[in-house]
Symmetry: C2
Subunit: 229 residues, 2 copies
């Protein structure tokens, strides 16, 4: 930990090119309880968001990482806030505004159970169970379209299995954010150290295929420095 | 790792009191996909099942650990098989029969989605989403009631938030197993190193309240040695 702290300062840290910039990053999945035991979640490992948090902190940014349930150590120099549900993540993000840059990497559950059972639901003799879900608030859109406290730069992630660039472009427009990193999740990306990604902004598409999550973090760091310089 | 391997042999290992006994243990949650990204899961960390696998391997048992998705290292001397869904866990368990002892610690999802979408489901303008679930096979009951290959000793776990002993006793009868360890999960047990448990068998209730997961593993090891001696 001491060595890491020394390295943190040597590689930039508090004096880096992003010194004085406040960055809020979300990472990991959310967990939407159905009862005290069960819940809806997704496959996000959190590694991409943590890699970005680490990189931006090394570049001197004041980084707050709002994380769903993952099994990852907190990067050096990063302030971490743990949350479970999409609503908790939404509240934690809004409590951090204003900031200069928001990067929404978390795989936020679109839906939560309409009714959360107070006790664990028992199996019944029925062969089917129907659960009704209601929509969660959209964190990325709420930040992008914030009337008073919109960050200068808002970047989202889109995990897709098909029509990657079409969806990413549509998401860019509908959410009102400045850039979308579109991930192709159809090739076993979750939990792996690699990603396949394309950055989409108003200037068009920039493919970043075949790069590691650390490389994508480096790419985003350079992009952020260019955009908020 | 070398030190751990030495310790493994010093504390029993291949020559321990359970030498020659084959034990199959399930641990962790299962993940039931709804589409390539989302899924139904539960809060199990896997720590209790892994602690039991480690203890029984140290006592000389031939331990196969069938694990849902967790972030834990494989205990020394244990054969680990990773699975994701309840159906995969069911198949992996049955492929391991015959065995002398089965310990079902995994928090197996009772339900899986009736239809798994091949592509990630997009948000729609609807404010509600209804998902139909169908029952998963019951691993504990299928092992307990196996006509040809029932292990000599079958132990289940029950995570409950209320009426702990009533449910455990009912589960013992309905599943046909030899003992149930009933966990009270209403007090923040998931992911912690501690558990609150009671063992229920035909002789009655044995409270093991306030013990660590390692202590529960020790208790179960002694119980297994007594029952299959």
């Amino acid at each position: 930990a001491i060595l890491a702290a020394i390295q943190f300062h040597l590689t930039g840290g508090v004096d880096g090119p992003l010194a004085g910039k406040k960055v809020v990053i979300t990472a990991g999945p959310t967990f939407e309880p159905l009862d005290p035991v069960r819940g809806l979640t997704n496959r996000s490992s959190g590694k991409q968001g943590y890699a970005i948090a680490q990189k931006l902190a090394r570049e001197g940014a004041d980084v707050t990482l709002i994380s769903g349930p993952v099994s990852l150590p907190t990067p050096i120099g990063v302030t971490r806030i743990d949350v479970e549900t999409a609503q908790e993540m939404f509240d934690a993000v809004h409590a951090q505004l204003p900031c200069d840059v928001f990067v929404g990497v978390a795989a936020v559950a679109d839906w939560r159970a309409k009714d959360i059972a107070a006790e664990k639901q028992k199996k019944t003799a029925d062969n089917e169970l129907s659960v009704t879900f209601v929509k969660n608030p959209d964190i990325l859109e709420s930040v992008s379209k914030h009337l008073d406290l919109r960050p200068r730069l808002v970047i989202g992630f889109a995990a897709e299995t098909q029509k990657l660039e079409d969806y990413a472009h549509a998401k860019l427009a509908s959410k009102g954010c400045d850039a979308i990193v579109a991930n192709n999740v159809s090739e076993g990306v979750f939990g792996s150290a690699h990603n396949q990604a394309t950055l989409v902004d108003l200037d068009g598409f920039t493919p970043i295929a075949g790069m590691t999550k650390a490389d994508i973090a480096d790419f985003l760091s350079a992009y952020i420095q260019k955009r908020i310089a």
